[in-house]
């Protein structure tokens, strides 16, 4: 059972991202969108990348990050909003963290 995690809040003000990571499974995917893009610079992100070992897909909505002047990381895939539609079909469930 794979889950798509839509992260929409900054981990600097809420603990939604931390809660997301606590239930994250090996075959899951993460999409950072809206204020979730700020999490690219959060220490939790480093720990996620370390444990991700290529099975967990980490994505960011490119224009959401660009609007906020956030540099994206090489290991994070830049996608568009319409790619999220595709992802909802390739995963059994969707959880929105907001």
């Amino acid at each position: 059972m794979s889950t798509l995690h839509l992260v929409r809040k900054s981990a600097f003000t809420t603990n939604d991202f931390a809660q997301c990571l606590s239930v994250l499974d090996q075959q899951d995917s993460i999409v950072l969108m809206d204020d979730g893009c700020y999490n690219l610079k959060h220490p939790l992100m480093d720990s996620l990348i370390k444990r991700a070992n290529s099975t967990i897909s980490i994505n960011v909505i490119s224009n959401h990050a660009q609007a906020r002047a956030i540099e994206t990381l090489a290991v994070v895939k830049q996608i568009k909003m319409n790619d999220v539609v595709e992802l909802t079909f390739t995963h059994q469930k969707v959880i929105t963290w907001q």
Binding site: S10, F12, T13, D34, D35, Y38, N63, A67, A69
Partner: protein, 132 residues
Amino acid sequence: MISSDTQIEDNLSQQNGLAIINSKAPFSSDYGKDALDVALIFGSFEQKVSLFFQGDGVYQLIADQDATLVSIKDYLKTFSAFEFYDIEDIYVCQQSLVNRQLDEAFHINDVQVLASVEFGKALNSHQHVLRF
């Protein structure tokens, strides 16, 4: 004697001023825009306004942002009008910048980056505070 009198006067004029704390990221809510509107209204009535940026509010000042990419009217551009409203005291919490791995690269000039203690002192010198 004279110096202490002027100091007291300075303190009083400071205390009469309004402090506005910005604590929210710019694009996911209306708080930033609302705070801006209040600041400019007070400024246009020649009331002394100081702006404080703390927590995710520091993102409002970061350079090279583009709200049009997320279909939002770019109110951050209006920040450059502060000088015309005599809003000159703009303070940023240094710890908030460090936590977010942000450089002191802002899209407006004359921003003062203060360590936590100084930031608190500057805030406490105001009699009225609004937090957004």
